[in-house]
Point group: C2
Chain length 648, copies 2
């Protein structure tokens, strides 16, 4: 079983509160190390360069002439432009730079970021307000259109950037600016008399405020985050009211329904993932955070139902979601077209955020399996191997027209995937008072702080190229603690050795994690072996386009055929009904395990006919597949994930 469909077992609140490690706690090598190095040395600068080229510095720096409207109003009839959220694009680029600086000191990069922060310092209003669009371009009043204008969303990304930059450099200026702004926001929004009961059309500030609270220890930011989550979707509806104040007809809304921004009903009443994919997963991330931080069990029925709805009926095999470009989001159940799949890179990134936060209440493969699937496939494909080009939308089949962008008029994805990969160490572990969960396997060194003291773990593995993982606990506290190792859903068996002696995996595994609770000794070694045969994955019968076809998966990696290896017309190829797969590690594409398989190629009986009553001829062929994340890094051409299979 690839997709966990089991309901969660024991009430999770009993397992304690799991939080990600701090930025400095994990040093990443192995598979992700070179990707992070590329971001540190190449991508972080490129992101800033392209933000500058777009005109973003002209917008935020009050000492420069304003940029005016650089990107025409264009989003439907809503008089919106992606320029409204330039602050967020710049913020995610700064966040990426922060992780890059943590990876590798770079005085020039740091100076560039400091200069941007200085400009934000000069831009910030007396009362703490800070939004370059409203302060420098738009003449409409602040907070007059929360539904469409991304004002709080911008604030959220600036907060996340400030937290990261503070953690990476120790410099307080940016986080101080943003705490001041957050306090201003708290003075404007809330349930208290005289405050507006607003919230953002694009969720983001909620999860950012939780990060700010965790980084600063200031619980008031958690309260504000909880307000935004709780208020969403209540009646009378805020977006109706603010439209009326603007003199607009609330019904004249380009996206027709508030499902688009998940404010159609209060969050605790939501059961189906709807609307814009990124907005959805950012909101659910915040809901999970609030559930963890406040031990608020009233959010769990919604979160569990939403998770089930997404993963059981609306998730691509690559871990992305949202098939439609029209709303950048959901349509109807099992609508998972391949060649037109939107599956925005940001949606996979957002799903990783959500899954990661669902692990806050305890390790559970129900969430970690999806996190891993989204990370290695739908998200990672968004960044070229050389760190210079980006995918926005991610089809699972291309007839040769789909290629990476240098930049995009809505450049949300490039810094989003970059900040994720650059901070991937935060996702490897979950840390509770007396338990360490290993969610993802990657060669790394971690120093993780339990209540009783620090655990130093040296992890050695070539994962995901092979499934051997060795963990040595170089330093341990004097008290017992649990080490919970994820047994991925794709692994049909697992072997676990503790200091060379076999552990009964089935006996110690709960919710997909093998849990070893003991008094550890420095030098203890755990060896986990996860067999990685190539699997042929079948989709549920409701997914029409995938029937008669299989996806190839090895470990967490979904594979694809590329024209570069197989020639064109990839739908003329098929896999033999039986027959082994050959796996070979090759240096191409940054080092991948190439999968080859026996199959066939069809040629038409009537070569020039568009339609023919004569069946095509078949000849034997060898099919050659590479990981989906690595596609479109060579000669541009066709690509195919769901491959025909004989007898299917």
């Amino acid at each position: 079983m690839i997709q966990s469909t089991s309901a969660p077992s024991t009430p999770r609140a009993t397992r304690g509160k799991f939080r990600p490690p701090a930025l400095g706690d994990v040093q990443v090598g192995g598979f992700f190390g070179p990707r992070i190095d590329t971001i540190a040395s190449v991508t972080a600068r490129i992101l800033l360069d392209r933000c500058v080229e777009a005109g973003m510095l002209d917008q935020i720096d009050p000492d420069r002439p304003g940029p005016g409207l650089r990107i025409p109003f264009q989003i439907g009839n809503s008089k919106c432009t992606t320029q409204m959220f330039w602050d967020s694009d710049l913020a995610k680029s700064i966040e990426t730079a922060a992780y890059a600086l943590y990876r590798k000191r770079d005085a020039e990069l740091e100076a560039r970021v400091d200069a941007i922060i200085d400009a934000y310092g000069r831009l910030q209003a007396e009362d703490g307000y800070l939004n370059s669009w409203y302060q420098r371009v738009d003449t409409k009043p602040r907070w007059s259109n929360l539904r469409d204008c991304h004002e709080l969303y911008d604030a959220g990304h600036l907060i996340e950037a400030a937290v990261a930059y503070y953690q990476a450099t120790g410099k307080r200026k940016f986080i101080d600016i943003m705490m001041r702004y957050a306090d201003h926001i708290a003075s404007v929004f809330g349930t208290e008399p005289g405050k507006q009961r607003g919230y953002c059309g694009h969720p983001e500030i909620e999860l950012a405020l939780v990060r700010l609270a965790r980084a600063t220890g200031e619980r008031r930011f958690l309260q504000l985050a909880r307000y935004f989550v709780d208020e969403r979707g209540r009646q009378p509806h805020y977006f109706d009211a603010e439209a009326a104040v603007r003199g607009d007809d609330p019904a004249d809304y380009h996206f027709m329904t508030y499902q688009y921004n998940q404010s159609h009903v209060p969050v605790r009443e939501q059961r189906q993932v709807v609307g814009h994919a990124v907005r959805a997963a950012y909101l659910y991330s915040a809901m999970a955070d609030i559930a963890t931080e406040f031990a608020d069990e009233t959010l769990e029925p919604a979160l569990e139902a939403l998770w089930a709805h997404l993963t059981e009926k609306n998730l691509y095999v690559t871990g992305g979601f949202g098939p439609s470009p029209d709303n950048e989001g959901l349509t109807f159940d099992y609508d998972l077209p391949n060649d037109t799949a939107y599956q925005e890179t940001c949606a996979s990134v957002a799903l990783i955020f959500w899954a990661n936060r669902m692990l806050g209440l305890g390790p559970n493969a129900r969430y970690a399996d999806i996190l891993e699937r989204a990370l290695y496939n739908g998200a990672l494909t968004g960044l070229s191997l050389d760190g210079t080009r980006f995918f926005y939308d991610n089809p699972l089949e291309s007839r040769g027209q789909h290629h990476r962008w240098i930049w995009h008029k809505c450049p949300c994805c490039p810094p989003n995937i970059s900040r994720l990969v650059a901070s991937i160490g935060l996702y490897l572990f979950g840390v509770a008072d007396d338990e360490i969960a290993v969610h993802l396997y990657c060669d790394s060194t971690a120093e993780l702080k339990l209540a009783a003291g620090t655990v130093r773990i040296v992890e050695t593995t070539r994962y995901p190229h092979d499934g051997h993982v060795s963990l040595t606990l170089e330093a341990v506290p004097a008290a017992p603690f649990a080490l919970s190792l994820r047994i991925p859903g794709w692994a049909h068996s697992a072997e676990l050795l503790l200091n060379g002696e076999e552990v009964d995996v089935a006996a110690v595994t709960h919710d997909g994690y093998a849990r070893v609770l003991r008094q550890w000794t420095a030098g203890d070694r755990v060896d986990l072996t996860l067999p990685m045969p190539v699997e042929t994955v079948h989709a549920a019968p409701e997914v029409g386009a995938d029937q008669g076809r299989v996806a190839l998966q090895r470990g967490p990696l979904v594979y694809c055929l590329e024209e570069d290896d197989n020639g064109g017309k990839l739908n003329s190829l098929g896999l033999a009904a039986t027959g082994g797969f050959v796996c070979e590690e090759v240096p191409d594409l940054g080092g991948v395990v190439r999968v080859t398989a026996a199959g066939w190629r069809e040629t038409p009986a009537e070569p020039r006919a568009l339609y023919s009553a004569m069946a095509p001829n078949r000849a034997r062929a060898i099919l050659s597949a590479v990981p989906y994340y690595a596609w479109d890094n060579r000669t541009p051409g066709e690509m195919l994930v769901w491959i025909r299979q004989e007898g299917m």
Copy 2:
């Protein structure tokens, strides 16, 4: 071979000029008879009712208060509304009513049409101008935006309606109005000094003027039609110039490129079908008319290349084209998705017009085969069996969400398919001075006028239910003439008897027509037998979505699976690799030949999993298919044309 890909053989101009029969020449029974009766008794009234409900009469009748803007500006950023072409919708509804009246006298219907014509008479300006949008709603100058505003397109449909109404009723009022308007148009547009060198963004008036010329014998309308065809796409570009006059930036065009309206280059330089599908085929129809009427061979290279490009790379198996809703037209070669196929009903109708006119230079199955494919499938599906509901876009796969409309904010398709079916007699035959071509087979009686006299043909057939066709020539002229019988491309063999004696079909067949030239005798009988086994049709390997699948075709009819017969999840079904088809004529759906076949149904190994490493289980099943044109006339549900096949 299903799709004719052969190049045209002998220069076609040698075969003479073939024109459709006149409206009164053919009495249709058989398959189409009941459909026409339904239009006459039901659809013609419904179309007028719905035009009235929409407000169209308020717009054309100067004695009523004007309707104002009833359909908001909405087409991209172009400040257009479908209300601009209400004249055309009403005109096609009048044209349908004309054919209905010819079929069955109906005083009430005729009085309603006369009242509309009277209103148009009152509306017509002193100088002959007639456009209800510009005269009654829009305040902008006439002829200020030919690119977007459909002014000449409206005129074209009114002309076609006037011709039909004159031919059906003998009343001259409408055709006189439209001749006056055509003369006014000729005074405004042309190459002479002082005239505007404009043409319409939506071709239509060109073919309408040819019809007007043929109906009236007035050659000046042919000249005007030729001017519009010749002028299109020349530089300096008229649409650039008129935009500048309006004060608009010509580059600020919602559809980006003049390929959208086929004015990107002069028509003789066009080689690829591009842009909006209906505009394209209407233009090519006019080009074929001009080629025929003026024996203009300079248009043929373009027409032949365009035909080949459409039929060899861009045609659905159902004879429709234009996959994309974005431009209601073409995208790139072999882009033929099934579940999102736009394949507008009007595009299939327009292709029938074009194919019909390509037959003007002589019978050739290269055109007639496509005409028949489009007629019985992509076009006919647009009209419900009861004549009350309509398809606008026509996917080849539906997951249950696609159903017929009562009406549409752009109601072009309902009267278009209705006028086509109601006038189908015009498409059965092509008539030259000394030759009759039988393009389509249908139970009918025809009186066709050759140079030497009239031929009366009584055709008896149950086509397309079976392939036996019997023609008795009840009256013949004293001079020899040729009877050319189409041998459809789908027929792998054909038997032809002349007065009971076998004719060597291969020996007399040229360009797909068996041609019998002789001195005929009254009472001569020709029997043609076309075997109709069920064929499995394979698509070229470039059409990715169709690989591993087949379409079922019997005679000219493409079949589909419907949920009503097969249960849901149609992509879980497949056809056995071998195994006969059972054909059974049933009374359902107005009388169809149902096709059943041995196959299987898959059920997932893990019922609730979205993805599974376990292959599904297969159980034997019988698949039951009905003609595509008849789908969505029962319980709403799924539909599928391209069916999985074992071993494919």
